[in-house]
């Protein structure tokens, strides 16, 4: 009996060890991959450096311009994320409503903005709508981004709403709940949970798409990068910095998204 128990212990111990070994192996593999990529990048960099004289000192001198660009990109993106999410909510509710008129309005909105290039939408809002309503560059960019990304968010949230089990809605009716109660406490929380991953993806797209606002000379990150490049002649360096900042910015969003997903996941 005792021997058996001990054997059992041994088995579980070795299983634990096996699992630990697996983890160590995984981490080692990741370190090797990272080292490989760094090595490759270094080789690449040195090869380019032979023909292109990298001058990072110049870029460092323009630090404040990058920061200013980052700030504007952050502001445009943050405001646009809020507004486009709001638009997505409103139009997705309209699209899933039973009233034909609301459905049509929402469909037309999505149809227009999913079928126009963002660049054109930005030009239209700044040079068209902007001149009539006296919008400055910032708000023209916000308006364009919000309308454009809002159309995608509409579709994302709509599919989330439609993914909620109709049986649950029936059950809510059988309890005697009102339509608005059912929407707010049964459908909506689940729809948001279901559509969270693609929504975060769309928000990341929005941050990257905001670089197109440089065409209306809004001083966001891409625009600043170009200015630094042209005035310092260190174009390559400047755009590398810009790309790096975008990656950092969007990474924060994905980490936030993963945190929210974990928090909203069912137990």
């Amino acid at each position: 009996m005792r021997a058996l128990e001990m054997r059992g212990e041994n088995i579980s111990l070795s299983r634990k060890q096996f699992k630990m070994n697996q983890n160590v192996k995984r981490i080692v593999r990741k370190i090797f991959t990272a080292a490989g990529i760094v090595l490759l990048a270094a080789i690449f960099y040195l090869a380019i450096a032979k023909v292109y004289p990298f001058n990072w000192g110049v870029v460092a001198r323009y630090k404040s311009m990058f920061l200013k660009g980052l700030l504007i990109t952050f502001q445009v993106s943050a405001v646009s994320i809020l507004i486009s999410f709001g638009l997505g909510l409103i139009f997705s509710i309209m699209k899933t409503s039973k009233i034909e008129f609301f459905k049509d309005i929402a469909s037309i909105y999505v149809w227009i903005f999913r079928n126009t290039p963002l660049l054109v939408v930005i030009l239209l809002t700044y040079y068209g709508v902007g001149t009539i309503f006296n919008l400055n560059r910032f708000w023209a960019a916000v308006l364009a981004l919000s309308l454009f990304e809002g159309a995608y968010m509409t579709e994302i949230i709509r599919s989330g709403i439609e993914a909620v089990d109709p049986g649950e809605i029936e059950a809510a009716h059988s309890l005697g709940m009102t339509n608005s109660q059912i929407f707010l406490s049964i459908v909506f929380p689940q729809a948001i949970r279901i559509s969270l991953p693609p929504l975060i993806g769309q928000m990341i797209s929005l941050v990257k798409d905001s670089s197109l606002a440089s065409v209306i000379a809004l001083g966001e990150l891409t625009m600043m990068g170009r200015q630094v490049g042209t005035s310092s002649f260190a174009t390559f360096e400047s755009y590398i910095v810009v790309a790096f900042i975008y990656i950092m910015l969007t990474s924060v969003l994905s980490i936030l998204g993963r945190y929210l997903e974990r928090r909203m996941s069912l137990a």
């Binding site: 049986g167 649950e168 406490s185 689940q190």
Partner: protein, 247 residues
């Protein structure tokens, strides 16, 4: 005894398929009515017309004397809150734990606070033997546990009648017993129940009356003893035989 549910010549058509072809039915309070019949007979549709989850094309449904076809939405919701409905596929709210699934009706429909509704909900979970699963989400429960939570959810509204739509049909055979046990205990409390099921044992031992349906019509109504020993219609005889042969 008073009549709690009445159907008068209820008809319902789904895209050219006549699910109900004029059903008449009266259910007295305290009855355990078991509805039997082959699939496609209109049993579930009939059950759903009682709380107007399915609105009949023609005919009248009365709940406690109130005619539902002329009821306002508000009156209809009031009626629904007095009718407990247990679904074949449980239909628990998957974003809420067991306790909140049971409590939410009291909060949203009866206007109770979450705190007191949860306290009450715990009592109903105790009734179905699931207090230890109160904070589990539906995805973490077995089919039998889900269905017992769904029964607790229906009970929490303190309904005048309970409707069961094939409550054990989606369950693993090994989990059917725990749900039937709860249903039996409810029957012993003297609750009014209308049960659509294929559980012949339950029908035989618990039902006070059997209604046999076929092709959208009520074909036979009788006591369980009479129904299982001397079925009147050919259809009922075939149905009983087919079930006995299955063994």
């Amino acid at each position: 005894m008073s009549t709690i549910v009445s159907l008068r010549n209820v008809r319902k058509e789904f895209k050219g398929f006549e699910a109900l072809k004029g059903v008449d039915l009266d259910v007295e309070s305290g009855e355990i009515l078991v509805v039997l019949g082959p699939s496609g007979a209109g049993k579930s549709t009939m059950l759903r017309t009682i709380n107007y989850l399915v609105k009949p094309d023609d005919g009248e449904v009365y709940f406690e004397g109130q005619r539902l076809s002329t009821a306002t939405l508000k009156e209809l919701r009031k009626v629904r809150s007095k009718i407990g409905f247990v679904f074949q596929h449980f239909n628990l709210f998957s974003h809420l734990n067991a306790l909140d699934n049971v409590a939410i009706g009291r909060v949203k429909v009866k206007g109770e606070s979450w705190e007191s509704a949860r306290k009450q909900a715990m009592k109903y979970l105790e009734k179905v033997g699931l207090t230890d699963k109160a904070y589990n989400y539906p995805a973490q429960l077995s089919g039998g546990q889900k269905q017992r939570v769904a029964i607790a959810r229906a009970l929490a509204m303190e309904p005048d009648v309970l409707l069961f739509d094939e409550p054990t049909s989606a369950l693993d055979p090994s989990l059917v017993g725990e749900v039937l046990k709860v249903m039996k205990s409810l029957a012993l409390e003297g609750r009014t129940m209308i049960v659509v099921t294929h559980e012949m044992g339950f029908a035989k031992s618990v039902a006070t009356r059997i209604v046999y349906m076929e092709n959208g019509q009520v074909v036979e109504e009788s006591s369980p003893q009479q129904f299982f020993t001397f079925p009147e219609s050919d259809g009922a005889r075939r149905f009983i035989n087919s079930i006995l042969e299955r063994v």
